[in-house]
Amino acid sequence: MKNLFKLYWAFFKIGLFTIGGGYAMLPLMEREAVENNKWVEKEEMLDIYTISQCTPGVIAVNTATFIGKKVGGFFGALFATLGVVSPSLIIITLIASFFNNYTDNPYVIKAFIGIRVAVAALILNSTVGMIRKGIKNPYQIGIMIAGALTMIIFNVSPIIVIIVAGIFGLFIFDVRADKEETNE
């Protein structure tokens, strides 16, 4: 039982100090999970990140679920996961209730015209960074462009794009890799 609260609190801290995206939390995760609480080995952390990239969802939450499960089964996973999202729930609720009082304020309206530009730039910046890190071969460039154009031009549901890409990856990538192996 004490373990469950330790899990909740450790991941609460991780959620609280993760600013600006999942990868920023790596060092903190290592300090809490590996050094302080000895829940996982350093090498295992790398495996966990890899898995988190092969499952849907937010990397912070996935790693919390995984480590929680390892330490304390289902309830461990539950407490760790709830821990990592609690700071968001609390802080955002407070901020949102604050802002909802000011939506008609002319200064707020003007401020947000500027803020939207900043957000657009921030998102483009993050996207460019992700492209640099994540795209490793021309096929992936093709898939990315295909996905982007399909969305922009046809405005389909993003779910369709994901499903089609998944099928493509499963069957067509498969075939190509098999061919490479037999050619060797």
Partner: protein, 182 residues
């Protein structure tokens, strides 16, 4: 009550099909804004992203909380967030028993080798939509916004500026919005 349940279902779908981290939920949220403008509009969404970028926590979770709260109050915020993370929670629990084999399975690797770029493509499309919303706020292109966008983006590319927290850009932009006739 129906609205809360419907929203939870949408967030569940978003959580299930988001590949590739924080911003990956953005395309799904934009679709929600398209289909349910009474929940939140595209402009509302960008504002929520602004807050989500400036506060602790994963951005997808933050936006889910914000959107859920704005539409359905405290209960809505909590339920939306839980709906978003439920698919990945279940997924991890399911594969946990054989995660080593899962990680090394060729089919899994190849599927995700295609899924990740597709997710990135969706984010690119989402980025384009946000760009349009920022630079064409009321139907007409605002040159001032476009120039501001280019300047901000250029600033972010400077190595020394890479460590600056998004919150500073957002506050700076807010100041510009108030002081200048954008």
């Amino acid at each position: 009550m129906n609205r809360i349940l419907l929203m939870c279902l949408e967030f569940f779908k978003a959580g299930l099909f988001s590949i590739g981290g924080g911003l990956a939920t953005l395309p799904f949220l934009q679709k929600m804004a398209d289909n349910h403008p009474d929940w939140f509009t595209h402009d509302n969404l960008i504002d929520m992203v602004a807050v989500a970028e400036s506060t602790p926590g994963p951005i997808g979770v933050n936006v889910a909380t914000y959107a859920g709260f704005s539409t359905n109050g405290l209960f809505g915020g909590i339920l939306s967030t839980l709906s978003l993370i439920l698919p990945s929670f279940l997924c991890i629990l399911i594969i946990y028993g054989f995660w080593q084999r899962y990680k090394e399975n060729n089919r899994v690797q190849r599927t995700f080798a295609a899924l990740r770029p597709a997710g990135l493509g969706l984010i690119c499309a989402a980025c384009f939509t946000v760009f349009k919303g920022a630079v064409i706020p009321d139907g007409g292109l605002r040159l001032s916004c476009l120039i501001m966008f280019v300047i901000f983006f250029a600033l972010m590319q400077i190595p020394k500026m890479k460590k600056i927290h998004p919150l500073f850009y957002i506050l700076f932009a807010a100041l510009i919005g108030v002081l200048l006739p954008l």
